[in-house]
């Protein structure tokens, strides 16, 4: 009866039981703490491994040629053939992401404003918010399929335009989310003060609220930009890829993720090295934009 731990027994009166209980609790606590530190180290280890692999293989291949020359076929079989680079892909990515962000940001901004200023608590607002979140996490390849059916087939060809539209669809929900979050943080007293001065609502929103939330909104735009710069799947079915430097939106256009994908699968070691260099470029670019965005957010606070 008293071989097992008796709940009615006051542990304080039984020093051995108390000490054992304390030891066990401390042990469990230590164990969990160690596991948590381990978990964090594992997470950091993966990041380190990815960056390390990228740096190792990417830097080895990264040089001025890769940055400035457009695609050339493999030099296998002909050592006098010129080496190629990723200039076509860099320019293509830059054009498509910039235009996609320019298209998606105003729409996202307006929707976020709608959710924060006009639709708090309304059914329609809830529905729009929900739909925006679904689009945020929707598989990007399905967006590629959608634009293929809607734009590529009627146009009769792949185009930078289709790729841009697919990326814009991905930008919109990111900007909506950050805009709404930032605008709801602005205290109502600010709004009331502006309206009390006689300003119409639209001026209040644009000149005061947007300005107050600007760095947060810009953060959202930068994050969206970084995200679409790395997207491959939707571009696979829309802008298709182009090995020649092209700024023409009505024809196929290259992009860094597509170039990486194709050259990594090309079967030729010199092209695969270029793919790693491209991977390094994309990752560095994306990480840099992310860090800048976070710094912006922090300085605001």
């Amino acid at each position: 009866m008293s071989t097992t731990f008796d709940i009615s027994t006051d542990p304080a009166k039984n020093m051995d039981a108390a000490r054992a209980l304390g030891r066990r609790r401390r042990f469990v606590d230590r164990l969990v703490q160690t596991l948590c530190v381990l978990a964090t180290l594992i997470g950091l280890l993966f990041l380190a491994s990815i960056l390390f692999t990228l740096f190792l293989r990417g830097f080895a291949a990264l040089d001025w040629t890769v940055l400035t020359k457009e695609f050339e076929p493999t030099t296998y079989g002909d050592d006098t053939a010129p080496r190629g680079g990723l200039a076509h892909a860099i320019i293509g990515t830059f054009i498509q992401t910039t235009i996609a962000t320019s298209i998606g940001t105003p729409i996202g901004l307006l929707v976020g404003t709608y959710l924060a200023e006009y639709a708090r608590g309304s059914r329609l607002g809830d529905a729009v918010r929900f739909v925006s979140d679904v689009l945020l996490s929707a598989p990007s390849i399905l967006i590629g399929l959608f634009i293929y059916q809607l734009v590529v087939l009627p146009m009769g060809g792949f185009s930078g335009l289709a790729g841009t539209l697919a990326l814009a669809v991905i930008v919109i929900p990111v900007v909506v989310r950050t805009t709404e979050d930032m605008l709801t943080l602005i205290p109502n007293t600010l709004r009331e003060a502006v309206v009390a001065l006689g300003a119409p609502k639209w001026k209040m929103v644009i000149l005061v609220c947007w300005r107050a939330a600007l760095s947060g909104i810009v953060t959202g735009v930068l994050l969206a930009f970084a995200r679409i710069a790395g997207e491959t799947a939707p571009l696979l079915l829309t802008s298709f890829g182009n090995n020649i430097i092209s700024t023409d939106l009505s024809t196929a256009m290259g992009s860094l993720p597509i170039a990486i994908y194709q050259q990594a699968n090309s079967g030729f070691p010199d092209l695969i090295n270029i793919a790693w260099a491209g991977a390094l470029l994309v990752t560095l670019g994306v990480l840099a934009v992310n860090i800048v965005a976070r710094l912006l957010l922090r300085t605001r606070k």
């Binding site: 940055l67 400035t68 457009e70 050339e72 076929p73 493999t74 296998y76 079989g77 002909d78 053939a81 010129p82 200039a87 860099i90 320019i91 830059f94 910039t98 590529v152 087939l153 009769g156 060809g157 792949f158 760095s215 298709f240 890829g241 182009n242 090995n243 020649i244 430097i245 092209s246 024809t251 196929a252 194709q262 990594a264 699968n265 090309s266 079967g267 030729f268 070691p269 695969i272 800048v292 710094l295 912006l296 300085t299």
Partner: protein, 354 residues
Amino acid sequence: MNRRSLFALAAGTAAVPMLARPAFAQQATITGAGATFPRPVYERWGQAAREPLSIQLNYQSIGSGGGINQITNRTVDFGATDAPRNEAQLREANLIQFPTVMGSVVLIVNLPGVADNTLKLTPEVITDIFLGRITRWNDPRLVELNRDLRMPNLPVSPAYRADASGTTFVFTTYLSRVSETWKNGPGAATSVQWPVGNGARGNEGVSNAVRNTAGAIGYTENAYATVNRLITTQIRNKAGNFVLPVMETFQAAAGTADWTRPGFAADLVDLGGPNAWPIVAPTFILLPTNPVADRVAGSRNTMRFFDWAFRNGADAARRLEYIPIPEAVQASVRSTWSQVRDPSGNAIWTGSAA
């Protein structure tokens, strides 16, 4: 760092790529898509033709199935496929088909202790490996064939192309030719249902899969095996001889091709020549016979490009271990180009001077 300087910095960085853009002359561009099989040679030709023809080639190697798809949808100027289309299919899609080079499919293996071109395989054994009936490398049948080698006790890991591929088409055509079971089972196509093994993307994917797994076996176009220094095997051909995957045996097969079939669909698989490599195939270009007004220039330039390649590209092809098409066939090909007409019914190809 205040906001204004941050924006200025960003704007400055954005302007750099614009400044670095090289000046390129006004050049016509042709877009093609399809087979990865001939990609190295098409790209080399494209690079060489830029100067003399002022044509830039944008070739996307998305696989033969993709090439057929894109040209049927008229989203590119020409399609490239290793799997020839038959007469009915060509007529229905308003396409002509012509060959450009021939290439060979080889088997690659990763077996410790087994050197290049030493492993001997027969059609029956190859089929059984890909059917999953032979699961270990020291299976009695393999040991029997390779008495001079030490066959390791490793599991057999077949690797195949997961994307639609003309290389798969050629290889499965071979398997269907040598095995009734395969013909009635997975069959021959650019994409089949493989009973066993891992799928990888592109020739690179298969090369990678084989390189990284001891006991792996895969199939790939010859150029990729050579450039990646993969171990290839001998195969017993229809005449009963074990042949090596080298230029002589490829050319022996290519020499006996019958080019009179519709669409130039010469069948070079499992030929009877004593020294012939059993898996050789031509690769084809698909061109619309009725391009829309916007695509007429692209059509003309495609024909100019391949005309130039026929006359000047044989060396480049051979260096990449492809076999050029015989001159007589090239002349035949040019005569079929007269079927390509613009919307007002005039032939677009008017001869090499165009």
